[in-house]
Structures are given as C-alpha cells and as structure tokens.
C-alpha cells in the first residue's frame, strides 16, 4: 500500500479525473444482495454530477468505492471494473477528497490550521507548499477570518463542513466526493457550503460527485444527474432540467422519498380549534447548567389539539427550551406551569415529577433517535414507557400489562414496523429509527409531545409519515411542540410559530461545560518548551520518589513545583482551581494509611478493630505527600502543553508510530462531544421513564445501559472518522509535518533541572535521615 500514493505529483492533480465504471458491482459482507451490480457509466473529467436514488440504492457505496476506502476481504469484494483517472479506484493512485454527512467526523485535528493541512501532510506534500495552501483554502471556503489556532470543536456544523472542504482542497484532489454534505446542517448554512463546493470544483477543475436527497440547493449547479437502481446499476441518466420538467421522473423520485425541487408531500389537513391550555410558560429562561448560556425569556401557551413551532437562530437555545418544557431541565427563571388537568394531582412544575409520571404526561423526542433507545428490541422499546407510566399523584400505573400489549401491537401496525418487532432498535434504518423514537414516546399517550428537529435529514417518505402521525395525534387532542426550521412541516401541522430571541451576550460559539483536553494554552515561558523535555523533567523529578516513603523528599518536589508555577503563568489561585482533586486524593490516601497502616508509638484514637497511632499517622502523612508530589508537577505540563503538540513530538522525535499517535489524538478530540452526549443521554433516559432513583442494582443497570449507548454512538462515530482519515491518505506511507519540533539548549536545561530536582530530593531526604527504601 505504501506505493499507492507514489505519483505524488502536483501537476496531475490540478485537473479533474475521469471516471469509468464497466459492469461494476460491490457485495458487502453479511448482505444477501449486492449493493451495486452491473453499473456502467463514463464521467468525463471536470463534470459535476448529482447522484440520486432511493435509500439502499448503493449511493454511498459508490462514493466510498471511488474514494478507495471500501475494505476488500474474504466476504466483501468488487466485481467488474471501476477506474479513476484511468487506474483502478482501489489502488488509490490519485488523491481523492471525500466528505460525509456528519460534520463532527469530518474534522480530524483540534486546531483549524492543522486540520486543513492534515490530508496534504499524509500525502507527503512539502510543508512549505502546504503552508501556502492553507490560507488559500480557508479563504476559498469563506473561513479566511479564522485563526489557525482556533479550536475546531467550537465551529458550527456548517463551518465544520466548510473546514473539511478546505482540507480536501489543500490535498489538491482531481475528484471530490460528497455524501449528503448538507443533511446534518441547518438550512441557513446550506447555500454558503454549496457555493464553496461549486467554487472549489470550478477553480481546480476537479470532477465533483454529490449524493443528496434534498435537491433544491444543488439541482441548478450540476451538469448531470444519475439515478441509481437499488441493488443494481443505473436507472436514469438525466440533465438537471429533467428534475424540474419531467413529471414522470419527478413522480418516480418523489415516490422513492427523494426531495425533488418544489415538492411537498401531501398530508391530510383540517381546521382545528385549540382546546384548553396544558402548559403555560411565562418569561421562561432556560439553561443547560449553572454556568451555561441562558436563553432569552420566552412566553408561550401549549393547548390541547394545537401545534406550536419554535424557531430561532443557531445558538438561541431552542433545544434547551424544548428540554425545559419537557420537564427535563429546571427553569432558571420565569414560570412554567402545567394545567391542573395535565398535572393530575402533582405540583405544577414538570421538572419536579418523577420519570414515570412525566412519560405519562409530557413526551420528549430527541433529535438523535439512538439517544432514546434503552432496550434490545423494537417491541420492548415500545412497551417500555407505557409499562412505567404512572397516573395521579401516587404509584398507580396508567396501563395494565394487557393494555400495554394492545397499544404496542397497534403502534407496530400504524408505523409499519410489524416485521421488525424483534429487531434491535440500533440496527434499523435512519427513517425507521426516527419513526420508532416518536412512537416510543406516543406509546404512553402523553397529553403533550415535544419534538426536537424531527424532520432533520429525513427523506420525503419518512417526512410524510411523521407529519401524518402528528396530525392524527393533534386530532385526538394531544398538544404538539416542535423545534424546527422546516416551514413546510410547520404548515402541515397548522402550527402557531414562535420566534425565540437570540441568547444575550454570546456569539455563535459553542461552549462546553465538561472537561476539555485541548483547552487553549496561555502564553508562558514553559509553554514554549519542548513537550518531551517537560515530560522527561517530570519523570526525572517524580519517579525517584517511588523508591522512598518519606515526607522530606516529597516536600522538596512539591515546593519546587510550586515555585515553578509563575513559569507556567499560573497563580496560586489558578493552581488550586485546577489541582484541588489532587489535594482531595492526597488526603484520602493519608487517611487510609493512618487507619490501617503499621501501628507504632502512642495510640491516638481507637476505632473498633483499627487504631490510629503516631506511627500510622506519620505513614499517612508521608503517603499523602508523596501522592501530591507525584501529581503536582504534572499540572505544570498539562497547563502549558497542547496534547497535539505532545503527540507531534512523540511521533517526530521519539519515533512513536504516527498512525497510533494521530489516531489516538483524533479519538480524543471527540471527548468534549462525548461528554455532551453523556449529559444528553441522561436527559433522554428520564424522558423514557428511566428514573434516577431506585435500588442500587437498578441504578447500576441504568448507568451500564447508558455507557453502552455512549459506546455505540462513539464507535459509530469513530468508524466514520476513520473513513475520513483514510480518505485523507492517512496511514499509507511517510508523512510530512507542518509543525516541526525542535530541541534547543533551553529544552535541555528544563530536562536537566527536572532530573536534578529528583536527585536533590532524594539527597536531602538521605541527609535528613528520613529516606527509607520501600522495597
């Protein structure tokens, strides 16, 4: 494989690559029918092509095949021939750019400049050349104003996709492949992304292939439209104009769920008069946590049989408002009151209700269906909430088991999921998951249903079914609240629209409440030191302490580390803010030893079988101090080092394989996201009726389930991230680095100081007579 990228020539890649498929087919492992078979198509260099087809038509498979990232093994193999630029696509003779739909996994590095350079570095492009390409690429996608050090995690979805595009452009690919690039970003961000893509293709002459099911944005900008046949080859080869004029084609595509331009699925609609108010919010202010951004005050009334749509800019906190209305977050200020009919014997604030009472009254549907799955089969999933739903103020169940069975059967039929009743919810298709997640909430027949972006990324068929389902709910007097950008959806529900004003005092920057691995490093003397020198210094200072258990050597190291705080730009206050868990841990260790350590000297305290003696206290103090001494110097490293730089140094200077270093860093970049996800999962589980209370066993089981859900999401995401990295040429051969690492005299001095400190600490302890070898 190392020779795959061999002709790393610049000239060749500045023009488009042609594509030729002759009787091409692909068989996935563990599937009965091939994803593609007998595909014949010739695409000349530089053509802009839109690829369509019903779900399961092999559109993504075709793109991954062209990118050369489909893995061939005993069970999965291509047939026929697929050529890119005249050579077998699977040999990856030329750089090819690939963009997938999930913005989070299109970014690899934690800093903007590094991320743009990533693909070009993997291709072994000269660093000087890459440095010239970065500003050009960022400018071309409209992100020219961003600092190279800007954290990629703080970008919006649309910005992330444009950054990914900049990275693709910096590789200088002759072919760009986009797999539903706009499916997961909000409507306002679509035109700028689309324009950036078209400009990039035009200016570089690259061939462009876009898979989309919302055609509005693309139809007028491409040269050709290909429609794929499920399990087969080409169904149609069209001009873009046919998407507007050819009624037969339009009807056929609409039938397959494709959003042909100007098409709105038909739904039944009738005039309804709203009933009594169920939920009333007055100047309601919401936030996800104590320190999180607060939403502007909102006032609204949710009445039975009526729909309300919440709109607003990105970052206004629409989802936060929805979570608060759903009784999942506590209101920060203002009022949220359930009518006495809805509360049914409970207090007026939904947040105070137990999970079982909540699911029977207010149902919340999350944006990501998988967040809500808590069981192993579709049937159990549907039965879950009704089995837990409580009525009144006590523990009286809303349904008896027989009623639950009947409800589940009815929903399975209504949602056409009968055949999938025993399937694992996570294995369903995107549209099926969406329908199921709505149905699991409706199963407990709450009086109010709240949905967050229910139509996001859905095809026209799922859209129609969802709209129909909610219209039926409205007709049976349920109140519906939806956060959505989708005007057609609001119209179909006959909804009253409410605009949430932008939250005050912030820009569109995403804040993260959880821990950050790549927090920006402040400018300080130590920040300029080679990370390996710092790591070595810490090892030199702290590892010798392992050999002894005495308070003197530990104190020397702690004192020296505290003295070095100014070099790291840290005040003593900032240090304690960061390092307090260390103190707690040190105290804990000291107490443990004091209690059960070797006893000697006077008895200070007698607790049952334990004695606290002078000897055990001294041992405890030494143990606690040693733990602190091991930990405190690390704070100096962590607060002055970006993990990416540490990784770069490990790989370039210690020759740790870059595949593992950069792979690990890429995974670690998802930490903030996973913390957010974990918090969301906690809320989603309450929304499903999983209580926070219960026996220890129930709580452990609930947490284990939550960890499993977190892992499922994380592993899927990691798979997509790996595809992105492979498509960017990662791991195929020698790479170049735009950030070179040097080791100067100053770095050497830091390393030497650390080692000296370790030696001095032991020396002083020996001199003081407290040194004692632990082994």
């Amino acid at each position: 494989m190392s020779s795959a990228l061999e002709p790393r020539t610049e000239a060749r890649t500045r023009q488009g690559l042609s594509i030729s498929a002759k009787n091409f087919g692909w068989q996935h492992a563990e599937r009965a029918v091939p994803a593609i078979s007998g595909l014949n198509v010739e695409i000349p260099a530089g053509q802009k092509v839109l690829v369509l087809g019903p779900s399961g038509a092999g559109k993504s498979t075709l793109l991954y095949a062209l990118a050369g990232v489909l893995e061939i093994d005993e069970e999965a193999a291509p047939s026929g021939e697929l050529l890119v630029g005249g050579k077998n696509a699977f040999d990856r003779s030329f750089p090819v750019g690939l963009m997938q739909q999930d913005p989070e996994t299109q970014i690899v590095q934690s800093r903007v400049g590094d991320d743009v350079a990533f693909g070009a570095e993997n291709l072994g492009v000269d660093p000087q050349l890459i440095r010239e390409r970065i500003p050009r690429a960022l400018e071309a996608v409209g992100l020219g104003a961003l600092d190279y050090e800007h954290r990629t995690q703080e970008l919006s979805g649309g910005q992330k996709q444009r950054l990914a595009l900049a990275g693709i452009m910096a590789m200088g690919p002759g072919l760009m492949l986009l797999d539903e690039p706009t499916a997961n970003i909000d409507p306002q961000s679509i035109p700028p992304l689309r324009d950036a893509v078209i400009n990039a293709a035009q200016s570089s002459g690259a061939t462009l292939i876009v898979v989309e099911h919302r055609l509005e944005a693309w139809a007028k900008h491409v040269d050709r439209v290909l429609v794929l046949e499920p399990g087969g080859g080409l169904a149609h080869d069209l001009t873009p104009q046919a998407l507007f004029d050819d009624e037969q084609i339009r009807a056929e595509l609409a039938q397959a769920g494709v959003w042909v331009p100007g098409y709105v699925p038909r739904t039944r609609s009738q005039l309804r008069t709203p009933g009594a108010a169920k939920l009333t919010a007055k100047d309601l202010v919401c936030a996800r946590g104590e320190h999180a951004v607060r939403t502007a005050p909102a006032s609204l009334t949710v009445a039975s049989g009526a729909a309300v749509v919440i709109r607003g800019e990105n970052g206004a906190g629409k989802s936060t408002l929805a979570l608060t209305l759903g009784g999942l977050l506590e209101p920060v200020a203002g009022e949220l009151q359930a009518s006495s009919e809805l509360a049914d014997g409970l207090a007026a604030g939904p947040f105070s209700w137990k999970a079982g009472a909540l699911v029977a009254r207010i149902g919340s549907v999350f944006q990501e269906p998988e967040h809500q799955f808590v069981t192993q089969s579709v049937r159990e999933e549907l039965a879950f909430a009704p089995l837990r739903a409580k009525r009144g103020s006590g523990d009286e169940l809303k349904y008896d088991p027989a009623q639950v069975d009947a409800r589940v059967d009815e929903l399975l039929t209504r949602l056409r999921l009968q055949d999938l009743a025993e399937a694992n919810p996570f294995t369903l298709s995107g549209g099926e998951k969406r329908r199921l997640s709505v149905a699991t909430v409706l199963a407990a027949s709450p009086d109010v249903v709240i949905l967050d972006e229910p139509t996001f990324g859905q095809d026209a068929n799922t859209w129609r079914e969802l709209a129909q389902l909610l219209i039926e709910e409205l007709e049976s007097s349920t109140a519906v609240v939806a956060v959505t950008h989708d005007e057609d959806f609001a119209k179909a529900l006959g909804a009253q629209q409410i605009e949430l004003a932008p939250a005050t005092g912030i820009s569109g920057v995403r804040g993260s409440a959880g821990p950050m691995l790549d927090a920006p490093v402040a400018d300080s003397w130590l920040a300029k030191i080679n990370p390996l020198a710092k790591l070595g210094a810490i090892a030199g200072a702290t590892l010798p302490l392992i050999s002894t258990m005495d308070w003197v050597s530990a104190t020397v190291v702690i004192a020296a580390a505290l003295c070095a705080l100014p070099l790291a730009g840290l005040g003593i206050g900032a240090f304690f803010k960061r390092g307090w868990p260390l103190l707690a841990a040190g105290l804990m260790a000291a107490w443990g030893i004091a209690l059960v350590g070797e006893d000697s000297g006077a008895v200070l305290l007698n607790i049952g079988i334990f004695q606290i003696t002078e000897g055990s206290v001294a041992g405890g103090v030494a143990t606690g101090l040693r733990a602190l001494a091991m930990a405190v110097p690390m704070v100096l490293l962590l607060s002055t080092t970006n993990p990416s730089d540490l990784g770069g140094a490990l790989s370039q200077q210690l020759k740790v394989p870059h595949r593992f270093v950069l792979g690990a860093l890429a995974g670690m970049r998802l930490l903030g996201l996973m913390v957010e996800e974990f918090t969301t999962l906690t809320l989603a589980r309450r929304a499903r009726g999983v209580g926070n209370l219960g026996t220890m066993r129930q709580r452990v089981k609930a947490k284990a389930g939550q960890l499993l859900a977190l892992l499922v999401q994380g592993i899927r995401r990691a798979g997509r991230l790996a595809t992105t990295m492979e498509a960017k040429g990662f791991g195929t051969g020698e790479r170049t680095w735009i950030r070179t690492v040097s080791f100067t005299f100053r770095d050497g001095a830091v390393l030497a100081a650390g080692i000296l400190l370790g030696v001095a600490a032991l020396g002083i302890a020996m001199w003081a007579g407290t040194y004692n070898l632990v082994w």
Binding site: E71, Q376, N424, F426, G514, P515, L517, I538, A539, T542, L543, I546, M549, L582, A585, M588, A589, W591, G592, I593, L595, V596, G597, E598, G619, A622, T623, A627, M630, A631, P633, M634, V635, L638, R659, A664, A666, G667, L670, L671, M674, V675, F678, L707, L708, L710, L711, V712, I715, R716, R717, A718, G719, L721, A722, T723, M725, E726, G731, W775
Partner: protein, 206 residues
Amino acid sequence: MTEQLAKKQSSWRVVDIVIASVVAVASGVFFWAWSAGYGLFSLAFVAFPPATALLTGGWLFPAVLGALIIRKPGAALFCEILAAVIEALLGSHWGMGVLISGLVQGLGAEVVFAMFLYRKWNLPVALLAGLGSGLFAGISEAYIVANLTEYTEAMKVFHVAATAFSGLVVAGLLSWWAVRGLAKTGALGKLASRRAHLEPAVAGTK
C-alpha cells in the same frame, strides 16, 4: 496464504486504532461522569479504606473491553494506557503515577490474551484477563510502586485479592457482557468482533 491472513488479522487498520481510542475516551468520560455525578462515592469506604480496591475494576475495564472489541495484539495495553492518559489530562489523581498504573494494568490483561495467542475471546479468557489486570494492579500498588508500603502485610494481601476480584468481575465479566451488547447493535460491523453476540460463551474460537 495462511501467513498473509495471520498478518492481516494481527495488524492494526486505521479503523481499529480510532475505535480503540474512542473506547478509551468513552471510558475516560465514564470515570469523569461517575466521580462527578456520584461525588465522593469512595467516601462510603472511609470506614475501611482498603475496600476501595473493590472499585479498582472500574479503572481496569478499558483494557479488557478494548481487547475484546479490537481483537488485535496490543489492544489491551493501548486502550488502558490511553484511558490513563485521558485521566491524567483531565487533571485526575496521581500524575505520572496514573500512566504507570495504566501500563501495568494494561500489561496484566495483555499477557492473558497473548497466552491464548490472540485467538480466543470468550468468557473464560475475558475473566482471566480481568483477573490478570487486577493482579498486576494490586501487586504493583502494594509492592512495586508501593503506594501502600505503610499497610500491614495482611492489609496488603487483602488489597491484592480485592483488586484481583474486582478486575475479574468488573473488567472481565462486565466487559464481555458489554461487547455482546455492542455486537447486537451492529456498531461493531467494521471489526473482528462483529459477531461476538453469536459466539458461544465458553467454547468460542476464532
């Protein structure tokens, strides 16, 4: 051909590396959430500090879980060390010590998988790997890194036994069970463990 196949099975693909690191990150998040959410849950053990060793298994599971998911040589070590790095980066306890613990704990599990030539990933092997990881961790803490050098000998022995037991149950049993759960969701589709839920608990070879 068989040689080629063996090489393919033991070499790491990009997807193996990234998924392994995400498993480690998820474990890190879980530690963080667990200790933040449950606050000072170890306070329950203030009355008898050596019993905290019973919780150690929670810190060992990335090793066994990672290996059972990735099924490649070095997976246990890689996941456990990375989880330790993340803990260290999040400003958790013990500084450099946490990295050494990660190395030792990962090694304990790795040795067991290596003894079975990276061919068996069933329940007994998972339990043994958890036990191995726990033993290594306990012995290291009691005798080598010697955080507990001031413990009485009986307490040290109790500590090692409790850590090993915790490794067996939490890291071994729960990881094995978690991988089966994951395989059922289809999330492991790209990995060697994608059929873990269909494999017999005891006999399974691969």
